[in-house]
Subunit: 259 residues, 2 copies
């Protein structure tokens, strides 16, 4: 490869395509069209010989489509290592982009919500690439989990906090201060026992549900209780509905009786 | 119609199908399959002679599909009126459900996020219906707006607050207390000038963007400034990214130079 800092190229288009959390049926029509028309489809993976989750979704939906792998270091610790792997992935895409190709980068869930796509774009910009980028939204894991668990995530004037537990449970604790706020916790697998204890202490276990590998082999959906919960995988999703009991009691709906 | 309180029927299936915010390309494959196989497709509308937004999305994607309208009172004020219209819509569905039909109810965005679907299910349960329900997730307006505006909504360990301004700006004010939290405001059209002033007072105008009727005729996307913003429609969406400036300065990324 030539020195890509001196000739990164101005051309090419990079599209971040959200492929949803796992079930290939949750791909949108736009995602299917963009993937079918791209010059290259690229998927992140932990190692060159491993099919990543985003790739497995694309393979299930479009078995004939060639998918190129780029290795990403997804470890939650080690900022330096992660950045180096983004830079390396960006370098791998530069020859295609520099030749004017449309490259589709597939990503779990939505490309603008906790996605490696933004890190990849940042790395490309740092290398001097000046082509255009765009994104195709995708169904998130918390939407798929709400659907599967039969959870009404938000109603009326309720609020939602979407937090990560990647650095521990401090952000979740702040969100729990307001009982009228629903909460989604991403990347909380390692801290699941602590999360369950926190929810119990705040009276928020009712309706709380955990989901892993939604729509993929090894899918796991479970109501959260303090006794049953061990650790879960890094990408586990937790939904904590807001407390609707108090409000339901306070609202006798007298208007209903006049119907 | 017979008295549906005495014989509401146990059968039938009601599926809430999220059709996304406007662009028919944002429908998922599952939504298309469920709509095509349903015995009845039902869409909410403000009046029997008006094509609602959810219906217009379905018509654009599947022009041959018959869509039945049920009238919903969507006015933000008037709890009693709204409940009465939910009850009336539920009564309209009972004969089909009671006969064992699979009824697909289409809804803007996602059926578990601020959707009329949950109110419809509640009204059906109050009428004694004991059939089964399920949902198909859909792309939300804030995801479509983030994609269109080129906004990275969440990165790393950032948090998001999703709030409504249906009752004013108090909930938004609480969310603004944390500068590291991105914010999405739904249903804030009537309060847009007040929202813009609040964002300016908190130094959060940078990157703040407004979207209306995304993917439909009359679409409007605009960066928010205090001078430019008048009122917007009821269903307007506002995205306020979290402040990344401080963090970027504090992080010189020394590891990058060793590559």
């Amino acid at each position: 490869m030539t020195d890509d800092r001196t000739s990164p190229g101005h051309g090419g288009t990079l599209v971040g395509v959200g492929v949803g959390p796992g079930d290939p049926e949750l791909l949108t029509r736009r995602a299917l069209r963009v993937l079918a028309s791209a010059d290259r489809v690229v998927a992140p993976t932990l190692s060159p010989h491993e099919v990543g989750r985003a790739e497995s979704i694309v393979r299930a939906a479009m078995p004939q489509l060639p998918v190129h792998r780029v290795v990403f270091d997804m470890t939650p610790d080690g900022e330096a290592q992660r950045k180096a792997s983004h830079r390396k992935a960006a370098r791998a895409l530069l020859p295609w982009l520099g030749a004017g190709a449309q490259v589709a980068f597939v990503t779990l869930g939505d490309p603008n919500i906790y996605s490696t796509f933004s890190a990849l774009v940042t790395a490309l910009r740092e290398l001097g690439w000046r082509g255009t980028t765009s994104t195709v939204p995708g169904i998130t894991a918390f939407q798929a989990l709400a659907s599967q668990a039969g959870t009404v995530l938000l109603d009326g004037a309720e609020s939602l906090s979407l937090v990560t537990a990647v650095d521990g449970t401090a952000t979740l604790e702040r969100a729990l201060e307001d009982p009228e706020r629903a909460i989604v916790v991403y990347k909380g697998g390692r801290h699941l026992p602590a999360i369950a204890r926190l929810l119990e202490a705040h009276g928020r276990l009712e309706g709380a549900v955990l989901g892993e590998r939604l729509g993929l082999a090894g899918e796991h959906v479970e109501m959260i209780g303090t006794s049953s919960v061990g650790e879960a995988s890094y990408l586990a999703t937790v939904i904590v509905p807001c407390r609707r009991d108090a409000r339901a009691t306070a609202d006798p709906e007298p208007d209903e009786r006049t119907q």
